[in-house]
Symmetry: C2
Subunit: 207 residues, 2 copies
DNA sequence: CTTCCTATTGACCTTTGGGGCAGTGACATC
DNA sequence: GATGTCACTGCCCCAAAGGTCAATAGGAAG
């Protein structure tokens, strides 16, 4: 259950020292000399872990790596750890979702606290996403027609209206509707709407 | 459409200078010598505006004022403006939702950008809240019984089950259900569920 | 050519949802 | 005591949803 901490820093002796401290605390550690090394390694972001990232490193900077990871949809929380923190960079990093921004030298207490928070947050985010992903998977199994029916159902349209809008009959809509409920594995309209809402499919609704 | 900027700083000459700059940019300005002064004034957080806040001021500090305002449910965005920024304070302020964290002396460009962003964010948040508030108002007009029926409806229970759980008859549930739809001003179950979901009433649902 | 999936539809029946109309009973207010 | 709100309920009816059984048709895959 221990997390894997990805340490990105160009200072080899710093990496070694941090690795020792983190392993003592029970974490697995992977080290990288540059941001590109981490990108190349394509760390598994499904297992518990976080990134400990220096701001000023050769090649891609810390914040640049952060942008890349966000763009790539990574869900590994990032803790910045730098010798010299300037305010704009700090603000930007936190706004972009970094878990924390620490300055070297960092006490083990602060560092381990931050890592624990990062792992907790990732865990919460992942369990949240896990449920939604299940729904997305089901949603992907719908045929085009079923998907159209789904969209109209969760907007409160009745079968008669749906049939009219799709140029088909009420009986056909019922058949598709049945398939939708089956494939989405729900037993009531309420559940279906709830899922659609959580997936952000009803943002600008006109009932 | 001009916003009202609340400037909190213990330095009178700074307040005057900032006030002049902001008024030139077309903003209304209110100044306060201390955090307590602002709390006493209880600024109207329904009109467009934001708070420009020094971190180190006599009495309540900037971050402390931020906590108070958050606890009080204020929705005025806060921009910190300080002479000396230390990293932990910066991180904490941004995590707590501050719009920005600037250091004196600040260029007019940076300052006005931050204010514009703050106002834009407040506006978005407010229009979002506005819609939900409408629903909350309707929800508040429901009687206790109607509210119970509402809760069960949006969880996908059918009238028969609701009647059983409330120890009443199906016909009675129908009557309450009618009242719920009427008072919430919706025309379909889908709309009702959608609203419940947005109000966070379905977080841990068991269909 | 055969098989599978998808879309479509008809006929028929049952369960739910939604109301109209009417009436009872408790409780609070004026 | 009169008025009003809220909860509760029976009878009856219509509309909508959902399921069963059965069948047609086009397209993709083997």
């Amino acid at each position: 259950m221990s997390g894997l901490v990805h340490v990105v820093d160009d200072d080899a002796s710093f990496r070694t020292a941090i690795e020792r401290r983190l392993k003592l605390a029970g974490y697995d550690v992977a080290t990288y000399a540059s941001a590109q090394d981490l990108l190349d390694a394509a760390p598994d972001d499904t297992r518990p872990g976080c990134i400990l990232l220096d701001v000023r490193i050769p090649g891609l900077s810390g914040p640049e790596l952060q942008s890349r990871l966000i763009a790539a949809g990574s869900n590994l929380p990032i803790i910045f750890l730098t010798g010299h923190a300037d305010t704009p960079t700090t603000v930007q990093a936190i706004k972009a979702g970094a878990e924390d921004f620490l300055t070297k030298p960092v006490s083990s207490e602060l560092l381990l606290d931050a890592i624990a928070r990062a792992l907790a947050r990732q865990d919460a985010a992942r369990s949240q996403r896990g449920r939604l992903d299940g729904f997305r998977v089901h949603l992907a199994t719908l045929t085009q027609r079923e998907r159209q029916v789904f969209d109209l159902i969760v907007r409160g349209k009745i079968n008669k209206q749906i049939a009219y809008e799709l140029g088909t009959t009420e009986r056909t809509v019922k058949a598709h509707r049945h398939q939708v409920m089956e494939k989405m594995q729900v037993h009531s309209l309420a559940e279906l709407v709830s899922i659609a809402e959580r997936l952000g499919m009803l943002d600008s609704n006109g009932g």
